[in-house]
């Protein structure tokens, strides 16, 4: 019985594909994290696929190794939701805020896409730091994996800049004044201060800043991130997963990739997405009043982990506290260049332990402290006072419009 023509064509196409020895598609699948292990380029695609699926992961690979994958999954979630948001978002001071309102309240499932983006941005920082901590304390950054550690730190930096640039985009009072405060702080640091001016593109945070941040967020950074991820994954493939002290690299002897590891990964991925969706549905990011360069908000609401940490450092330790903590981060980055002994046990690495505890512990403490901060930037209040020198007490930091609404009727002539 002769098959219908479209099916005939499909069968021919599949046969051609099978005959092809090019494993390019498998390469893509591997890049996307769907496949693990070496891919044989000299085999037809179906055999290569089967071979890759039969690959066995080392037996010491456990749940704690999932954080890297979770980070990547969240990154992909950010890419997908970000692209969807870009359909409706308008990067201009006049339209940014209304476009967010439109996304949240009018676009079908827009609220979900937007809050998934916000929550993925938070969870990716946590997953990334957990991944980093695992690599750090397990000394997986030691040769030959030191390049990958540096690339990982670059990826951390890229994620932080991603979040920082994305934070301004809602263009509400909270994001506006938080970005103003952080840029003002960076302004106070010698040399790097010039970078803040470059980013701001104006004397205050304005449409010029919004344009720069948007371009960085959706055009420049994604390319850098993808290139770094590609490099990061390829090096992971090349060197394999770091074995514990005293054990050889155990590729090809442990758990089979298919189906056990694939199912495990799939389960973890599903759980992470479910948690993200739950957070998005239960705790949507609140929206402040539209950004106003002439009015300080009476409170700040932070919606990103890194903002909490940065504000805590800036408010409690000042500009230099912020700089010192960043320097600590850079010290962590440079550690592999000096710490080249093949010693993996934590007890024998006191300096690494102290640095790591300082950084990761400091991050947690700063986060907890930052959650308590809800007041408007104090240094901006004083700046406003110096602008209006008078014998009279300086005007109160202007209340938020919502406050005005509540107080207006008290000030009526009743």
């Amino acid at each position: 019985m002769e098959r219908p023509r479209p099916l005939q064509w499909l069968a021919q196409f599949w046969a051609d594909l099978k005959r092809s020895t090019d494993a390019g598609i498998l390469g893509v699948a591997r890049f996307l994290g769907l496949l693990y292990g070496p891919i044989d380029r000299s085999l037809p695609i179906d055999q290569a696929l089967r071979k890759a699926l039969r690959h066995r992961l080392p037996s010491y690979v456990g749940w704690r190794h999932a954080f890297g994958g979770i980070t990547y999954l969240l990154f992909m979630a950010l890419v997908v939701t970000g692209v969807l948001l870009a359909f409706y978002y308008r990067p201009s001071p006049q339209e940014a805020y209304p476009s967010i309102q439109f996304i949240v309240s009018e676009v079908p499932m827009g609220w979900l896409v937007r809050d998934l983006h916000v929550w993925s941005a938070n969870l990716i920082v946590i997953a990334l730091l957990a991944h980093m901590a695992r690599v750090f304390f397990a000394a997986a950054y030691k040769p030959p994996r030191e390049t990958n550690w540096l690339i990982g730190l670059l990826l951390l930096f890229v994620v932080l800049v991603f979040g920082g640039t994305g934070y301004l985009l809602p263009w509400d009072q909270w994001s506006y004044w938080t970005v103003t405060e952080v840029l003002d702080t960076i302004d106070g640091v010698p040399v790097i201060g010039a970078l803040a001016d470059l980013l701001r593109g104006d004397v205050i945070v304005s449409g010029a800043t919004l344009g720069r941040f948007f371009a960085l967020h959706v055009i420049i950074l994604p390319w850098i991130a993808f290139a770094l991820i590609l490099f990061h994954f390829n090096l992971t493939r090349k060197h394999g997963i770091a074995p514990p002290q005293g054990r050889e690299r155990g590729e090809g002897v442990g758990v089979p990739f298919f189906p056990i590891h694939l199912l495990r990964s799939f389960t973890v991925g599903t759980l992470v997405l479910a948690v993200t969706i739950t957070a998005a549905a239960l705790f949507p990011r609140p929206i402040g009043d539209p950004a106003d360069a002439f009015q300080l908000p009476d409170r700040l609401v932070s919606s990103w982990v890194v903002v909490d940490v940065s504000l805590a450092l800036i408010r409690y330790l000042g500009t230099w506290g912020f700089v010192l903590f960043t320097a600590l981060g850079i010290a962590l980055a440079l550690l592999p260049l000096f710490d080249r002994r093949p010693e993996y046990r934590l007890r024998r690495r006191p300096l690494a332990l102290i640095l790591g505890l300082l950084f990761f512990g400091g991050y947690l403490v700063a986060w907890a402290a930052g959650r308590q901060l809800t007041s408007a930037p104090p240094n901006l209040e004083t700046r406003q006072e110096t602008v209006n020198p008078s014998s009279e007490p300086a005007p109160q930091p202007q209340e938020e419009r919502s406050e005005e609404r509540t107080s207006e009727f008290q000030e009526g002539e009743l």
């Binding site: 949240v104 056990i260 599903t270 997405l273 549905a281 002539e413």
Partner: protein
Amino acid sequence: MKLGAFRLILTALALPASVSTAAPASDGAAALDQQQAQRIDPQYSCIVCHTDMRRAFLEGVHSERGIRCHDCHGGDPRAFEVAAAHADPSFVGTPDKIQIVELCSSCHSDPNQMRQYGLTVGQLAEFQTSRHGQLLLRDRNFDAPTCTDCHNAHMILPPNDARSNVYPTNIVITCARCHENAALMGKYGLQIDQVKNYRESAHGVALFQSSNFAAPTCIDCHGSHAALPPAVLQIANVCGHCHVLVRRAFYAGPHGKAALDGRLPGCTACHSNHGTERVLPEGIADTCVNCHGADTPAVAHGEEVERLAIHATEELGSAAAAIDELVVAGHRTSDVQFRYQTARTSYLQIGQAQHSLDLTALEDLSREVASISRDIRGVAEVAAEHRWEHKLILLPVWFLTLSVTVLAWFRIRSSRREGSS
């Protein structure tokens, strides 16, 4: 010897500079001083001694109009000896307070001279009607202020110059210079708490804290040159000059009639004078008690007004809270904001209409506020319900997630068994 000659030359060079620049703040200020210095002939001898006065005078408007020291003080400015300069028969020296009034009004009461500057000429006539003018000109009481006490003697600035004593934010301090002087005011049985009360009043807060120059200062109620406290019968008109709608409502009601008969000191009966005390909605009935006594029909009426005002306040407050909720949730609020403004207009009308004590009008307005507030809350409630429905997505999500987890667990377990067997 050589050094002495050099010093002489230096002094000679520095003299004109030292006369013209006391402490130049910058090159710009020095240039300005130089420019001003050219306005007065360096041969003009008064300035050799009276340097301070000259500096002050050059800042003021009169130096720009070609007026010179001797125009007010007489004397001979061409004579370089003190004795000769002051010996001229026209010499006045420091004029006394009454002479000052005469001197100023010699120009400022002349329409032909004032026309070119767009200035009015009624100041002297007004001053004569004021308490200050009566004390000074009629009783020759030199406690009373004269022109220069408020406008300065030499540095006379227009009222729109922020350095002027009569600039809106300075005028209160200018009046306070005498009216906060307990010894001086005690002689005339006047209190000294006006300025303190004014600063705390709505007017003072608007002026000093919000820099709202539409807010009245002392002179807006008392007059400037014709300064007098308003008479009892005039009070409602003075306040009503700005609070037009309140005045209309006030005269339409029983209190307005009482005020016209002189039985009630107008607005100040409830609001005090300089403190402009605000009567909040919950304090309305208590205010009635002050005059009417407790448990009187008037107080019962006041309680009804209070109830309506509080009701409207609460309604407007809940509408504002509903809008806040909508904003935070990311809803577009232009429509409800517009409706809120309508409610607020009615609410402000309650503030005006209650001065007429007309319960029907107040009920109508209060109902209007409540009705719009209900609409706005309705919008917020519908939005909140929609947001609640968002959470329902968790049911399928977790159903699928748990199913996947359980199935994967079974699959992994069976694969392991196969592997081990």
